[in-house]
Symmetry: C2
Subunit: 578 residues, 2 copies
């Protein structure tokens, strides 16, 4: 590593450079980011747009004494490179050493683990208030993107910044894009602010009681340094609106900012065969063609749930991207249902957490016949910030919501079709990770909350939730092979209520029930079964995840970590039983 | 019932009156509301301010064909009186027949059950979109108060209204108050809008792409009718800013709008003796006097958690009311903790639901040493909208959060003091309903997640969570009396993890463990115990609430409904055991 970057060990080294050298440093860092991210995968475009601003922030502010918070923190790669972690972006061997977001476990320059959106201003308000109460003197700076500003929590934070009232610098990184194109009335206003160079009379930030500055050249280090120097040590909250170019300096990313937002590693295996995202698109295209009341809703994160630009376009006005607004999206879906439309809200499990109260109030209490498709639920090789293991907790324990867990593509499609056409209740469908097929679907629309017995046996019964069916089958096969026990195998297609006749029936010829779920056990499916049998002699063995945060654990490894392989299960049974 | 009100059976009857008669009707209805609410209790001030606007809305719009949505719906009494339910407000005998909020189960004029805040615009967006997709023609009108506009979801809804783009009428009821005085930069702006009669250049609603009108005389039926007639059948979203007087027409309420927001029934028993709200205030006053880093945080609902105006004033700048912003309040608390302050966030269980993701990300994942005091958790005589039975689900299943359940005031104070002073973890304390005292506190700060054995016995062990201790004690006494069994009695002071040595120890001389919790069983405490013992011969009997919504069930009755009395429990044990 040559050039300036080779000399940078901490922000103090940045502060020793001249302004022109900062330009050169930015060029070097941009190239390193392009090269490394193309190889390793990661958030490309969001980081390329924010290279100069990050350098300017560390140049002007006295980090870590001054506090620097990144909202979402998917734009923190330059920050990581300047704060002792550049080797992760110059040598692929080190890439896996760090998480993809800010992380206080990695560096004193990182204040929070972040990954979900719109929380940064609130966190900064807290830091500013703590500073004031403790009588300290330091700047508090928070970086937030235009996409994140669609989230209600960001509004709440901005509205409260005025109440804190003292030094608080909000750097508004406006790259004219969320993950996908922005949606919401506010974005017309941001365009007007850019057109008028921040001079238009009407100003969102000023309505919230905040001071405001505009920097048109958001990828020019000189302009940024000047702007940040002007607001350093300011005695009240101020928004510095920085107009940047998403993907800046890499032509493909500039022209394809959605695709370039987050890219896979160069050597990443393409998903083999069909996906549930694909199956869902194909189904919805057909359904929407024959039923004009179906409306597809997404909250600012279309890629994970398979809502491609082509599909969105084909839906016309019956696709609504509400922005990063899970709360609104759920309430909006309830309104659609009440108005006679058939909403299908597609959401990642990790982001669904943001709408818990709306699941309770707008869906459960109001019995709104909306369909919610939860993708990314279970054990995935992902940062802990984005884990999707709490969805069972937050949907299946809410009164009034029917939660379905298909094991196969056939069951999934049957459930989806039934759910869209019924008018009685909100339905959550937990979409499995991998597509498997079966000759017969176990879902019976006449008995939509019933479970499906795949095979009848005795002594041991496996109750498999959704995607764990193959694991259950393997365990059952192993048990037969090793111990000659022909076990019962049940798909628990519904995890919001019990198939009581089935559970009661098992009491006659079984003494162990084994539950399997791809989610944390606490508050989950297996525990309910354990309670159901609590007064009986039935033993209940629950397999699932522990209540913990794990970073980037390969999906297959979860099962070993959680003592959740067929071998583990059969050994446990043998230990008790044989 | 004489006058015009006597003739009103539905809004059609309102439309037959002259404008001057509407004035007279308003006077009659205001008096009926004052008389009835003083007797029965309820939301007084919020309703008094909105009498004229409600009459004007039903006069101008063709309800129920036109859609009328109330955000929160604590201002819907006039609406209920006009839509077939006036006897609930003229004859106290009928008061209990209806819920305190809009409810489609009561009337076709009510579109949603609402009770939490800030969801109304989102629901209306959904209704408008459904109308457009289905090719219908009708007005969609939503009423939202200034307090609710501090909530992020309301921002999300307004931002998305512009995207819906068609007829959507947002009636902004600005009575210059939330439950308590408003907090947030936005409220200075609203004051400017009022001062300039809506003419100031800077306009929050216009920044979100919305059209805007201002009505200064928000308690004048004529002005309101004119304003609503102007926007009826409009082809785009518009905000009608109506300046009303909270408590209008009742001098005491006008002068004491916070106290008058919601009042108890005239014959309501005063809470006997001390309350946990009081105990908390006394403790915090002392603590804050010696530790200047303690900051008390509340999210726009101070009364339920005992944050009186006097206490708030005494805290000075170390009390922060963030507005109706639970998401922000939790993230703000995480920021405070990271910055070295000691935040104590006081919240009602039902509203804490709105911050589930922030509990996960900002508290659990970030290990933020913040203290959260959850009031109103358990079985209360309250509308289903405000039930506080899901707090165990949403806090105890989240990794990284320590959840404590004191049974006595002594334990509560020990836990609170320990929590505020520790630096390692977020702590949730589930505040019991009633104060009981004990000579000794079972909480050991050296073993903060341990449980407390109250008495040692054999065969049966009662594991009591928090406030259920007296119930457990009565059941144990009854068991001794009836069956001569001296049972073990344990306070499960911590419900986020197990006291494993204790649980393992019970295996030797017990064959039934009984769990008791004042919350729903699904996803709760007892189920975890059932799973823990799943592989053993221990029987586990779980007592708690069913997964359902119940309206205004007297607290004591819950225990009978849920088969959760000492008699029930002992009979169950006898049925299995003896």
């Amino acid at each position: 590593m040559s050039g300036h970057l080779g000399q940078i060990e901490s922000p103090a080294d940045v502060r020793r450079l001249s302004l022109d050298e900062l330009d050169e440093l930015a060029g070097e860092m941009r190239q390193a980011l392009i090269d490394s991210t193309l190889a390793t995968g990661g958030h490309l475009a969001s980081n390329l747009g924010f290279v100069e601003a990050t350098i300017a922030l560390h140049y002007v502010f006295d980090t870590p004494r001054d506090r620097l918070v990144f909202d979402v923190s998917h734009q923190c790669y330059t920050h990581k490179m300047l704060t002792g972690r550049k080797h992760a972006y110059t040598n692929p061997a080190y890439y896996g050493k760090y998480t993809g977001f800010t992380n206080p476990g990695e560096s004193v320059y990182d204040l929070f683990r972040a990954g979900h959106t719109s929380q940064g201003v609130s966190l900064a308000c807290g830091l500013a208030k703590a500073r004031d109460v403790l009588g300290e003197h330091r700047n508090v700076v928070v970086v937030i993107g235009d996409g994140s500003l669609s989230g209600g929590e960001a509004f709440e934070g901005l509205d409260n910044a005025a109440v804190v009232g003292t030094n608080l610098i909000v750097v508004f990184n406006d790259n004219e894009m969320s993950i996908a194109p922005n949606s919401g009335g506010l974005y017309e206003h941001f365009a007007e602010l850019r057109r008028t160079k921040g001079q238009c009379q009407n100003n969102y930030f000023r309505t919230l009681g905040l001071d405001y500055r505009y920097v048109e050249e958001g990828n020019d280090v000189h302009a940024l340094v000047e702007a940040f120097q002007e607001v350093r040590d300011i005695d009240h909250p101020v928004v510095v609106h920085v107009h940047t170019l998403k993907g800046c300096g890499y032509a493909w990313a500039e022209q394809n900012p959605e695709a370039a937002h987050s890219i896979p590693a160069a050597n990443a295996a393409k998903p083999a065969g069909e996906t549930f995202q694909e199956i869902t698109r194909l189904y919805l295209r057909e359904k929407m063609a024959v039923d004009s009341s179906v409306v597809v809703v997404n909250a600012g994160a279309p890629s994970g749930v398979g809502l491609t630009p082509e599909f969105r376009a084909a839906c016309g006005n019956r696709f609504v991207d509400t922005g990063i607004t899970e709360q609104h999206a759920v309430a909006f879906s309830a309104g659609l249902a009440r108005g006679g439309a058939k909403p299908v809200f597609m959401v990642m499990a990790t982001f669904a957490q943001r709408a818990f109260d709306q699941f309770v109030q707008e869906l459960g209490l109001n019995k709104s016949p909306a369909t919610v498709l939860v993708f990314g639920a279970g054990f995935y090789d992902i940062d802990a910030t984005h884990a999707g293991t709490l969805d069972i907790v937050m949907t299946s324990n809410v009164p009034g919501i029917t939660c379905l867990a298909p094991a196969t593509a056939e069951e999934y499609l049957d459930m989806l079709d039934w759910s869209i056409d019924q008018h009685e209740r909100p339905v959550v469908i937990r979409v499995p990770e991998r597509v498997i097929h079966a000759e017969l679907s176990g879902f019976d629309p006449l008995r939509p909350t019933g479970w499906h017995t795949v095979r009848e046996g005795s002594r041991i019964a496996f109750l498999s939730l959704g995607s764990t069916i193959n694991l259950a089958r393997e365990a059952a096969d192993l048990l037969e092979e090793r111990d000659g026990i022909h076990a019962t195998l049940v798909e628990a297609l519904n995890y919001s209520s019990f198939d009581e006749p089935l559970l009661d029936g098992l009491l006659a010829f079984h003494d162990i029930v084994v539950t399997l779920e791809a989610g944390i056990l606490c508050g989950g499916f297996g525990e309910k079964v354990a309670r159901y049998y609590g007064k009986t002699a039935m033993r209940v063995f629950c397999y699932g995840g522990m209540k913990e945060f794990l970073d980037r654990v390969p999906t297959e490894e979860f099962f070993a970590i959680y003592h959740f392989t067929p071998e583990d299960i059969v050994s446990d049974i043998e230990a008790l039983h044989l």
